[in-house]
């Protein structure tokens, strides 16, 4: 590897840097309470909530456990539980 001038790299390299192990709390989504409103996906600062065919899932490779999704979920479908290492 050679360093570039100004530490310039191609876009999207954060995908290679997994931040999931920063968590001390973990959001758990209760699918039966979820109304698929999309608030959690919009509010997640790390883009770690994915939606596919109307189904929501949390990407634990990148979720840092900040808890914003659980705080903002209007149906309380997301609960924060202690992370077990």
């Amino acid at each position: 590897m050679k360093i570039t001038k100004g530490a310039v790299v191609t876009g999207g390299t954060s995908l290679e840097y997994k931040t999931g192990d920063w968590r001390d709390q973990k959001p758990v989504l209760n699918q039966s309470w979820c109304k698929a409103c999309g608030v959690c996906e919009e509010d997640c600062p790390d883009g770690a909530i994915h939606v596919e065919d109307g189904a929501f899932s949390i990407d634990y490779d990148f979720c840092k456990g900040c808890g914003i999704c659980a705080r903002e979920c209007p149906t309380e479908a997301i609960q924060m539980i202690p992370e077990e290492k």
Binding site: I3, T4, K5, G6, A7, V8, V9, T10, G11, G12, T13, Y17
Partner: protein, 393 residues
């Protein structure tokens, strides 16, 4: 020749360099420069985005980001404003983003004052920004045109700060010879960076670096400065050819050939020192002066060339590293350490907060050199010029 305010001359130089983005926040004594540029944009004389922001931190961030998009960008600030830009300037140097800042010199609070000294720009000397100090309005005009060329040189690729004394240069009227737009366009080609922000080809700047690579990045910035000295010399030589004025070298040596005593200065005080040198020469003193034009990278080779025959050096430092001494004195002492025939060097803290450094002050400095000369060459303490002991409780 036109007789113009220093700030207007700088704005004319910037306009002629065709910046695409100008962003600034007002602070005395820098304000007239960006007011002039705002008027040029408003009147349709300058085709640039003029971005008004709520702080100097944002102004620096805007020009840094603009530079990353491949736009030529400019800002100016003074004193506390430069301090508020500091975080961004360090980051921009690390990201190798070339833009030009005018650092209009003004002292730093507290106590608050709007008068000139070099404390503000000197506090940025470690950031990786290239610093050029100017003596006159004409030199300010010319140096700004060279500044973009230096910043954007592919091997250098760093921000450049032109440091000019507030009020003394920004608000005084001097006669200035402007250059033609065509000549400037020939001298300064459009900015074509190696990397630029592009939605079709996304890139990140200054990405995360662990301890296994960060040191190499810092070394690369340092080397860009060190290797850049030769390139800056060449660009100054081109500037001399362009303007017909002598800008050969990173320093200017004035009557140093047979000088026994040499005064080292930066900025507008250099003119006063030259006058004093002439007076003292006519009285039989073998005295000369070296003006440091490029302070970072530090041009020791060029300074040594001019001072190596001298017995005594007086450094005028319009700044103080609290608890140590003046920045320029420290730099020089460090480089002289262990050299054969190193001259006696005395660091004088002078002109803080706009205290005048006039011919009388320079005579006092010479007298102090005479008394110091009987002591070991490296004094542990700097000499404060013109302190009034009756003011201390």
């Amino acid at each position: 020749m036109s007789v113009v305010e220093g700030s207007e001359a700088v704005a004319m130089a910037i306009k002629a360099c065709r910046p695409q983005v100008v962003s600034a926040y007002p602070i005395s004594p820098q304000t007239h420069i960006v007011e002039n540029l705002a008027k040029m944009v408003a009147d349709g004389e300058l085709d640039a985005q003029y971005v008004r922001v709520e702080s100097e931190f944002s102004a620096a961030s805007v020009v840094s980001g603009a530079s990353a998009t491949g736009s030529r960008a400019y800002t100016a600030s003074s004193s506390q404003g430069l301090l508020l830009m500091t975080e961004v300037i360090y980051a921009s140097a690390g990201m190798r983003l070339p833009f030009v800042i005018t650092g209009v010199n003004r002292t730093i609070s507290a106590p608050i004052s709007i008068q000139v000294d070099h404390q503000d720009t000197m506090s940025l000397r470690d950031s990786g920004i290239i610093q050029l100090y100017v003596e006159s309005v004409q030199e300010a005009y010319d140096t700004h045109i060279a500044a973009f060329k230096i910043a954007e040189d592919p091997k250098i690729s760093l921000p450049v700060m032109v440091c000019m004394d507030g009020w003394i240069l920004t608000h005084s009227y001097e006669s200035v010879a402007y250059m033609g737009q065509e000549e400037i366009d020939r001298f300064l080609s459009p900015f074509e960076p190696e990397h630029f922000l592009d939605i079709k080809n996304p890139k990140s700047w200054g990405s995360y670096a662990d301890d296994n690579v960060l040191m190499e990045f810092k070394y690369a910035v340092h080397q860009a400065m060190q290797d850049g000295k030769q390139r800056i010399r060449e660009i100054f030589k081109e500037l001399s050819l362009l303007t017909g004025r002598d800008y050969r070298g990173l320093v200017e040596a004035y009557r140093t050939e047979d000088a026994d005593t040499i005064v080292i200065a930066l900025g507008s005080v250099s003119g006063t020192v030259k006058e004093s040198v002439d007076d003292l020469r006519s009285e039989g003193h073998q005295i000369g002066m070296v003006k440091i034009r490029c302070y970072r990278p530090f041009p020791f080779e060029d300074i040594w060339e001019a001072i190596k025959g001298a017995r005594r050096i007086a450094v005028l430092d319009a700044n103080i590293s609290m608890g140590s001494e003046g920045a320029v004195g420290m730099d020089l002492k460090a480089k002289l350490y262990g050299l054969k025939n190193a001259p006696l060097l005395v660091d004088f803290i002078a002109g803080l907060g706009g205290r005048e450094i006039n011919k009388r002050a320079l005579r006092n400095i010479l007298q102090q050199l005479d008394t110091v000369g009987k002591k070991p060459p490296f004094l542990k303490e700097p000499n404060w010029v013109g302190l009034n002991p009756t003011l201390f409780p």
